[in-house]
């Protein structure tokens, strides 16, 4: 299988979707001539023209609102918000318009839009350019949220998101854009709502998504040297999430650690932990533990940011605690 970077997989997914469906258009700041702030749309305006690859003003509320309107009137817009931190400005369009339209208009119209946006730290980009805010969106009925951790899923989830009849937020990680991985030829779609077993194990389950997948795999490697076989489950889709796969894994390992880069308090892990404490109660042989960032804004200084972000050591320590 050919290897490529996550960013190239995203560009490929956008191009393939535009090729396959003329109603797919792209909206975003600097995505046209400049090829996107991280280069995800490089070459697409030249290939598909400025009508389908549109540069917007630096106004997230406006571009998200335009995407909702375009979706309601028959297009499949893929909007890009440069940093997830700026999604605050687009919340009305997403929460009150995109998420609600199908329900408020008797199902006559859906909002088949996609909003791509990168989250996550590690680049010393400071408190306003590093946040992981996906839990906000997961809390809104009517929105779907996915978060790929590999080039294959970056391609596969984006294709599924664009084809989905409802609004899907695709949360990418800017620290993973340059990461290389395999992509099948032709590339496969990743269904929304399905987790992936990234590493089988029998002693404990590490459930993760995004950058935390790679820390979790490193933690599992470290634990394997101690004789602990940790299973790593990549959630991939946060809303809806693969409850059956998590329960199935927990029912084999009886221990669950949930890892994400987002702040631990009130995060995605809290929801999953609460649900598993209910439907998985009789399978638990240890408390469910979460590994997330502490409850404070992302520090700017690199050493502080490094201390703030979860890592393999913290995940391994949590697994050891569940085995105590």
């Amino acid at each position: 299988m050919p290897e490529l970077r996550t960013l190239q997989a995203i560009t490929r997914a956008l191009a393939d979707a535009m090729e396959a469906d003329p109603s797919v258009i792209l909206l975003g700041e600097d995505i046209g001539q400049a090829g996107g702030p991280f280069g995800a749309t490089r070459g697409l305006q030249e290939r598909f023209g400025p009508e389908r690859v549109r540069d917007t003003p630096i106004a997230e509320a406006a571009l998200a609102g335009a995407a909702v309107g375009a979706a309601l009137t028959g297009l499949r817009p893929v909007a890009e918000i440069m940093f997830m931190d700026f999604i605050t400005l687009a919340m009305d369009a997403l929460v009150n318009q995109a998420a609600k339209a199908r329900f408020m208009f008797g199902g006559q119209r859906g909002v088949p839009m996609v909003l791509r946006t990168p989250h996550g730290g590690g680049l010393s980009a400071g408190p306003q350019h590093s946040q992981c805010l996906e839990a906000w969106l997961c809390h809104v009925p009517g929105l779907k949220v996915v978060c790929p951790a590999t080039p294959a899923d970056a391609y596969g989830l984006l294709r599924s998101a664009i084809a989905d009849p409802d609004p899907v937020i695709v949360v990418e990680h800017k620290g993973l854009y340059a990461m290389k991985g395999e992509l099948a030829d032709p590339p496969e779609w990743t269904p929304i709502g399905r987790a992936r077993l990234a590493r089988p194990g029998r002693d404990a389950t590490i459930l993760c998504y995004g950058a935390a997948l790679h820390w979790s795999l490193a933690a599992a490697e470290e634990l394997a040297r101690e004789g602990v076989e940790a299973e790593v489950l990549d959630l991939r889709s946060l809303q809806p999430w693969d409850e059956a796969a998590v329960l199935e894994s927990l029912s084999r390992t009886h221990r669950l650690v949930i890892a994400h880069e987002a702040v631990e308090a009130f995060g995605v892990g809290a929801e999953i932990a609460a649900r598993m404490a209910d439907i998985g109660f009789d399978e638990l042989d240890a408390p469910i533990l979460r590994v997330g960032a502490p409850f404070t804004p992302v520090p700017f200084a690199h050493p502080l940011e490094a201390a703030w972000r979860p890592d393999a050591a913290r995940i391994a320590a949590a697994v050891r605690r569940t085995l105590a």
């Binding site: 009886h254 109660f281 009789d282 399978e283 638990l284 042989d285 240890a286 105590a324």
Partner: protein, 382 residues
Amino acid sequence: MAGEILMPKLGLTMTEGLLAEWKVAPGMRVRAGDVLFVVETEKIATEIEAPGEGEILDLLAPAGATVPVGAPVARWTGEAAAAPREAPAAPEQPAPAAPAPPRILATPLARRLARERGLDLAGLRGSGPRGRIKAADLPQAVAPAAPAPPAAALPLDRIRATAARRLSQAKREIPHFYVGAGADLTRLLALREEWNALPGAPRLTLTHALLAACGRALAQAPELNRVWAEEAWLPLPGAHVGLAVDTPQGLFAPVLRDAGALPLEELAARADALVARARAGALTHEDMAPASLTLSNVGMHGARFLVPIVNPGQSMILGVGAVEAVFRPDAQGAPVLRREATLVLAADHRVLDGAAAARFLGRVAAILEQPLALLRAPAAGG
């Protein structure tokens, strides 16, 4: 400034305590009276309170560890070398209902598996944090159809593990010797039948009479009311008598205070309450007063005699067998029907010798054979 919190001495003969559970963690601030940890000695769990204010720095002994008296169990910012207080015992308060049995810590999986396998978690020891029972702590399931596998070792709970260790130590270290005698209980049993037939009279058992006889014999020979402690004799105040009680949780030997000074009716009521507390797992530290003698009556199970092991920290134990009907020659050599029980007194030879033990046993038998005297209140001061 860092001080140490020490394992307290909760009884005259206590040399070590099992640190059953921590109630605090490093970094916690405590005030005087806050419960720091739970100590299990012999058969009793006692909550230990902070003697003052401070912050817990670190724990030096894990839950489950056996720690010698006076050894540090934690470091804190409070008073240096503090021997914490035992939580005030509650028996003086108007008695509430028996406290709930201690909560069993077990994971949901362990609970489900135990339910499915018909296992009682109460008898298991947990290897998890705070002694939590995990799935791995359960004995393996036995497939009903399979040929009997080699018996899996059943882990002991704390109470039984402590008892096993302490009894092994007692049998190993105490130089036991034994004196036996038959006691003629014919008149006592007749009196008891008459008493129990009285309308409204509290039920009197042979165990009540035996407790009274032991207590009064001890009160008459206060020089024998002593135990071995650190290469010396330690005299004990009060004619208290321990009573071996068989319970589902294991063998307990709570102590009936002043057994030698109580009127028989009062003694019977207190002994019944003591046995009820032991069976309910509700014994308090008050029920474990220092005593030199314990009574173990197995007569109701039909055994002819019992040669018991002296309880750790005591010097004598009286084993009582079943009542038997026997013919004895009277003064003219004619057979007389009697009802007798065999008494075996086991004693610590470091504390008393054979003659003293035989005299003591004879005194117990004599009291049992003069049952009317038992109905009189004991003379004040023994």
